[in-house]
């Protein structure tokens, strides 16, 4: 009875013949033996359908006959067949509609719901109007909650196929009434389907008031785990009007952080973070909150690597947006030897974010261990992390530099290369803390420096600090031998370095300078390089007219870099907070840039909304709400009982009940609102934005982790990676701009 042998593709005719021959032509007999044969044949059909053998379409008459027989197992398989091929022969379904109607009226709940599930897949308009919709209405009031639940999901399915039909037949109102159903599974199904409907019809919106939210919360203990997740998600549509409300709701939801099911735990976390936006200083008003949230997140790390990855990405998000609200211990994020690479990467990011003066020692020791790992990528990333820490923590820079020097002394090539790049960043931040010993190490190991970025960094260091390095000239000569074969970046930097060296030591550097300039202008074809060489030549030759020009341009101090690039735009953070646990939170990019068809979410205004956190966003909310005023007329006007889909209320602050204890929201005069608005729009203009049209045009290129690489928005994903790959492009860019300014 080995079913795996049924997984062979075959033609429909063969199965047909089998059926006829084995049952002696009487396919309607119900004896046990013929039933068994029919089941076997049906299994073959199902196996073929799984393998994608579309030839099975031809056997449909037999499948209808099998469906008529009163066997649950057989019916199940027939339904699988129907749902896969339903769009292909609509007439047959209409012809056989009595079969389905009988089942919809059956006394067994299981059969009723199976039939309902199946007919919802049929895209035939006539069928839907005559049969599907009327029976849906009937079964929505079925005494068995299981059938009601299935029907609710069926409405969703039919909505996908034919949205106007659902709206016309007023089934959405019926859905609204089911929000008050006594059974938790039905309510969660309704909430899920309503959420889906809203996603596809942007003019509809779910609004929940206080009474409803308390009924949702009371349903939570009775619901099964995934239903709890859907219910929690629905609470996001509730806008608390006062501090106390939010605090109470948060306390009600805290227990759910301890659910074994991560969907429940993460959704609970999402709702709590959302509600904390409406609480003044949440880490103080609910003092256990940071510890609880932190503990909950860390326990989730004990699960499979995929879930760890999801949790870790969300930890990064939370550390960037609400660092005071999460208490985490950096030692829990140390990498273990067997973690997959994507987990290790993310843990490194988190270690960087969590490092501070108190735990710097431990962190540096750990990063040093990673630096000596056999895996080159991991090692390089940890060295970059050390470098970035030196830039982030000014008092700890000495210790970080010591560690880097230790690593560099090992003599291992890729470590040296990475350390050069990182030291260059450190010197950009602390230009007066240059140490000759360190540079000496690099000089002595200069043959290990092979890849483009490290060569360019090394050149920059030599150029800027050539007065400290006696061997500069030899090093430069070495590098200039291979000048022609180097990539463009290296060539540009070498050129600049040679100029710098010449300016500091004219006699020694002259011959080298002339060589290089000659090569650049005559033998190489890149226009940038040639231009720059000519430009330098011009400056140097006009030193009589402009005696200090060269010094001013070439040897100026560069601006000090800092680590503020990790700060993400607050509106992006707000949106991502409302999407904790979703795919967008893994990519850490604004939802529309990755999923262009998604609806964006943002915080709704209310008297309890914390202004200090969200000053700039508030003004953008106001702007959108003003748009809403104009479009309100066009919205679907559904009877507005609480908890149903209604058009959004105007965010007129006067209409809300003010909690006198809230000193939070200052009344803003219209002038104040407008100035905020203008400032915000200016900021918006200066920052590049992505429209959906742009997104469609771009090709999808992805790096090795499946993360898309081509978004134009300044987003966290790129920033984090870019921070790890900080280049010296800035330095050359500034020179270039300065040069351009000079010539023009």
């Amino acid at each position: 009875m080995n079913d795996s042998r049924l997984f062979i593709k075959c033609k429909a005719i063969e199965i047909q013949n089998d059926i006829i021959s084995q049952t002696n032509g009487s396919t309607t007999k119900k004896s046990a033996k013929s039933l068994k044969i029919k089941k076997q044949c049906m299994k073959r059909i199902v196996a073929n359908v799984t393998m994608g053998n579309n030839e099975m379409i031809n056997i449909s008459p037999f499948v209808f006959q099998f469906y008529e027989l009163d066997d649950l197992e057989l019916k199940g398989m027939c339904c699988y067949y129907f749902s896969t091929y339903c769009h292909l022969f609509p007439e047959k379904y209409l012809a056989n509609k009595d079969l389905f109607i009988n089942d919809l009226r059956s006394t067994s709940s299981v059969i009723r719901s199976l039939a309902m599930k199946t007919i919802c897949y049929f895209p035939i308009e006539e069928f839907q109007k005559d049969i599907t919709v009327p029976y849906m209405r009937k079964l929505l009031s079925d005494p068995d909650s299981y059938v009601r639940k299935t029907t609710v999901f069926g409405i969703g399915k039919v909505f996908e196929l034919n949205p106007s039909l659902i709206e016309e037949s007023r089934l959405i109102e019926k859905l609204n009434s089911l929000l008050h159903d006594p059974s938790a599974s039905v309510v969660s199904a309704t909430v899920a389907v309503l959420d889906y409907i809203i996603e596809t019809s942007p003019e509809m919106k779910l609004s929940i008031d206080e009474e409803n939210v308390s009924s949702l919360v009371s349903l939570l203990p009775k619901a099964s785990e995934f239903s709890q997740a859907y219910l929690l998600n629905a609470i996001l549509s509730y806008v608390p009007q006062s501090n106390q409300e939010s605090i109470d709701l948060i306390s009600d939801l805290l227990p759910y952080l301890q659910h074994a099911n991560i969907a429940v735990a993460i959704n609970a976390l999402k709702v709590i973070i959302y509600l904390s936006n409406y609480v003044k200083a949440p880490q103080d008003s609910i003092s256990v909150l940071p510890q609880r949230l932190g503990n909950s997140l860390v326990s989730l790390l004990a699960k499979s690597p995929e879930i760890q990855f999801l949790v870790l990405r969300n930890v990064i998000l939370l550390l960037l947006s609400k660092p005071n609200l999460i208490k985490l211990d950096v030692t829990m994020f140390f990498c273990q030897y067997h973690d997959p690479i994507y987990v290790k990467d993310t843990k490194l990011e988190i270690i960087y974010l969590l490092a501070n003066y108190n735990n710097l020692e431990i962190v540096l020791r750990e990063l040093e261990e990673y630096g000596t790992e056999a895996d080159i990528q991991m090692s390089r990333k940890s060295i970059r992390a050390i470098g970035n820490l030196a830039i982030k923590l000014e008092d700890g820079a000495e210790k970080c530099t010591d560690v880097l020097v230790n690593l560099a002394c090992s003599g291992i090539p890729f470590i040296i290369q990475e350390t050069v790049i990182v030291m260059k960043n450190i010197y950009r931040k602390y230009p007066d803390k240059v140490d000759e010993h360190t540079i000496k190490i690099f000089v002595e190991n200069s043959d290990a420096i092979e890849d483009a970025e490290s060569k360019a960094s090394f050149m920059w260091i030599i150029g800027t600090y050539c007065y400290l390095i006696p061997e500069s000239l030899e090093v430069l000569k070495d590098f200039s031998h291979s000048f022609k074969d180097e990539p463009l970046d290296v060539q540009l930097t070498t050129l600049t370095t040679v100029i710098k060296f010449y300016l500091r030591c004219p006699t020694q550097g002259e011959s080298l300078l002339l060589d290089i300039l000659k090569v650049c202008t005559e033998n190489l074809s890149d226009p940038d390089l040639r231009d720059r060489a000519y430009f330098y030549w011009k400056i140097l030759s006009s030193q009589k007219k402009f005696p200090n020009a060269a010094q001013d341009i070439v040897l100026t101090e560069l601006p000090i870099i800092n680590s503020d690039q990790d700060k993400l735009d607050s509106s992006i953070l707000e949106e991502l907070e409302l999407n904790i646990g979703t795919l967008a939170s893994i990519y850490l990019k604004p939802v529309k840039s990755v999923f262009r068809l998604s609806r964006t979410r943002k915080l709704t205004d209310s008297p309890a909304l914390q202004v200090e956190y969200n000053k700039s966003i508030k003004s953008s909310n106001l702007k959108d709400d003003m748009e809403d005023v104009q479009t309100k007329v066009l919205k679907i006007d559904i009877k507005s009982s609480i908890g149903t889909i209604t058009s959004p209320k105007l965010s007129d602050n006067d209409s809300y009940e003010r909690d006198p204890a809230d000193g939070v929201l200052d009344r803003q005069t219209p002038q104040q609102r407008f100035t905020l608005l203008r400032k915000k729009s200016k900021d918006m203009l200066s920052r590049p934005s992505v429209s959906s049209r742009d997104v469609e045009k771009k090709e999808d290129t992805f790096d090795e982790y499946g993360l898309p690489q081509n978004s134009k928005t300044p987003n966290l994903g790129d920033k984090l990676k870019r921070r790890m790959t900080f280049t010296r492009k800035k330095s050359t860019m500034s020179l270039k701009n300065q040069a351009r300014n000079f010539t023009s």
Partner: protein, 540 residues
């Protein structure tokens, strides 16, 4: 007909935008063949499955578990050569989808391979230790004999899988997947895999249905009264009956330690879970008590043993403390979470048969069972000497079983001379390690392994650079970590695995377990504490 079908496919793909949570679900085998496919939207089957096969299964590098192309995301988990894939369009809740994938895999394991696990267990209900699992994790062995899901299980029972899938996801939204509940919807029998002789293993039906004579004959669930009214299925059906009421409790702890070369503990924590197997009649309410520090603070501290309601003192594990700080606990859905939050009481109506009651984590006051002190000497580049001394810190009455210590050696090692005061040590070339196995280690004992390994010179990896190129002046700057790395080989840590019974690494003790049901029966309770090594790493 087929041509029309394909053209329609393309049209449908472009026309529709957003869809439901999970658009499609597939199970692939190792080669990329589809074993199970279910679409919750029409006609995107071949495109999507092909895309996944090409992009993910055929490519060799380590990937992330998600892959987004355009607006479509593939989320997958891999288990024992099987790929469980969910396809989602647009921004969906990844936590729900991953939890669904894991739970569905567990569901399939319980329903299709449960018999294998049961036969591996001994009769008193004790658990086969999973130390083999730990070690095999390092060896990369894939075995089908230990209750893990394999391809044959799925192909032999694909109709069962489809039935389960039908109940598990509705309209793309995952639903309740407790096996005890879904059992009643199954009308098909379950077959074993070809390894165990492809015989009919069980008719997977609930105990109730078994007793009803009609069903055994017709095997149709449709006529059962049980299924006339399904109701709000939770995690336990009413009307379960057993002659003997028993509860088995396992406290499994995994101790994770990270020690550095000096013997200081960098990181230590215990991940524990409590598994229960209940054979109880009716709808009992269980109350469960631990020596949780937040409760213990309220009761008077005296002789700690007084607090334990356990009549048999042998049931109290060694290294039990009077209170233990649980950093975080995660509970099964049957536990009333609000009661736990307010009063730290664990009340629940258990599902039938086996389930995991709670998971917890403990970082303070961990009792370390072993202390490993490695001493390494590298003479030149051809010899690697080591002296590993292992001391067991637990009480002498206990003994640890299946102790395996894996000491990585440099690549290119060919021969090893090993001497140990206990157990057997052998050198394994495939894993580049010396593996020291001890069947039984008693407490308060010390054992030593001494050995040396010959290395083929110059066969170390490309990340090396020998000492001689460094100029002598730089020796002053060498850090202690790197100076040992004369071979330029980065040392993976020493890994230890073991199994220790009746020892509580965190100090957790089950204080009481009370069962209340209206017919007031007495219950037999069996409890076992097992400590295993999680990631027990010692750097050197």
């Amino acid at each position: 007909m087929i041509e029309i079908c394909q053209r329609y496919q393309q049209l449908v793909l472009i026309a529709h935008g957003n869809t439901v949570m999970i658009t499609a679900f597939f199970i692939f085998n190792r080669k990329g063949d589809i074993l199970i496919s279910k679409l919750f939207r029409d006609n995107i089957r071949h495109n999507i499955a092909e895309v996944f096969r090409i992009q993910v299964i055929s490519s060799n590098e380590i990937r992330s578990p998600i892959l987004t192309l355009g607006s479509t995301t593939f989320l997958h988990i891999k288990s024992n050569g099987l790929w469980f894939v969910a396809v989602a369009r647009s921004n969906q809740d990844a936590s729900i989808i991953f939890e669904f994938l894991n739970k569905f895999r567990q569901l399939l394991e319980t329903s299709l391979c449960g018999h294998r696990k049961n036969s591996a267990n001994s009769s008193d209900g004790s658990r086969v230790n999973d130390v083999a699992k730990n070690v095999s994790h390092y060896i990369n062995a894939v075995s089908t004999s230990d209750g893990h899901l394999c391809e044959d299980d799925i192909t032999n029972n694909f109709t069962v899988v489809y039935e389960l899938l039908d109940q598990a996801i509705e309209f793309g939204y995952p639903q309740n997947m407790e096996f005890g509940v879904l059992q009643r919807f199954l009308s098909t029998p379950v077959y074993g895999s070809s390894n165990s002789g492809s015989s009919l293993i069980s008719k997977v039906t609930s105990p109730n249905l078994l007793r009803s004579p009609d069903l055994n004959r017709h095997n149709t669930a449709a006529t059962s009264e049980d299924l006339q009214f399904v109701g709000d299925v939770g995690w336990r059906r009413p009307g379960i009956k057993y002659r003997k009421n028993e509860i088995f409790l396992w406290v499994n702890e995994e101790i994770n330690v990270l020690m550095n070369a000096n013997g200081t503990v960098l990181q230590s924590y215990v991940n524990g879970n409590i598994q229960m197997k209940t054979k109880l009649t009716g709808m009992p309410v269980c109350r469960f008590g631990l020596n949780d520090s937040l409760i213990m603070n309220e009761t008077k501290s005296g002789n700690p043993l007084e607090h334990y309601d356990v009549p048999n003192t042998a049931a109290i594990p060694k290294a039990a403390s009077d209170k233990v700080v649980l950093e975080d606990c995660k509970f099964h859905q049957c536990v009333e979470l609000d009661k736990f939050d307010s009063d730290r009481l664990i009340h629940f109506v258990p599902p039938d048969d086996e389930f995991e009651l709670m998971k917890y984590r403990c970082t303070e006051n961990i009792n370390l069972p072993f202390l490993i002190s490695p001493q390494i000497q590298e003479s030149g580049k051809t010899l690697f000497n080591f002296n590993i001394s292992m001391k067991s810190l637990f009480p002498p009455k206990l003994f640890a079983t299946n102790v395996v210590i894996k000491i990585p050696v440099p690549p290119g090692s060919i021969k090893a001379n090993l001497e140990s005061t206990g157990g057997k040590a052998r050198f394994s070339t495939e894993e580049c390690a010396v593996i020291w196995k001890l069947n039984k280690v008693t407490g308060q004992d010390q054992l030593v392994l001494q050995g040396s390994v010959d290395i083929v010179p110059g066969s170390v990896t490309k990340t090396t650079q020998s000492d001689t190129t460094l100029s002598p002046t730089l020796n002053d700057f060498k850090s202690p970590i790197l100076s040992q790395n004369a071979l330029g080989w980065s040392r993976p840590p020493i890994l230890v695995s073991f199994n220790l019974d009746m020892f509580s690494a965190s100090g957790l003790v089950v204080r009481y377990l009370k069962v209340q049901e209206k017919s007031n029966y007495t219950t037999m309770k069996f409890i076992k504490y097992i400590t295993q090594a999680g990631t027990y790493e010692i750097r050197y």
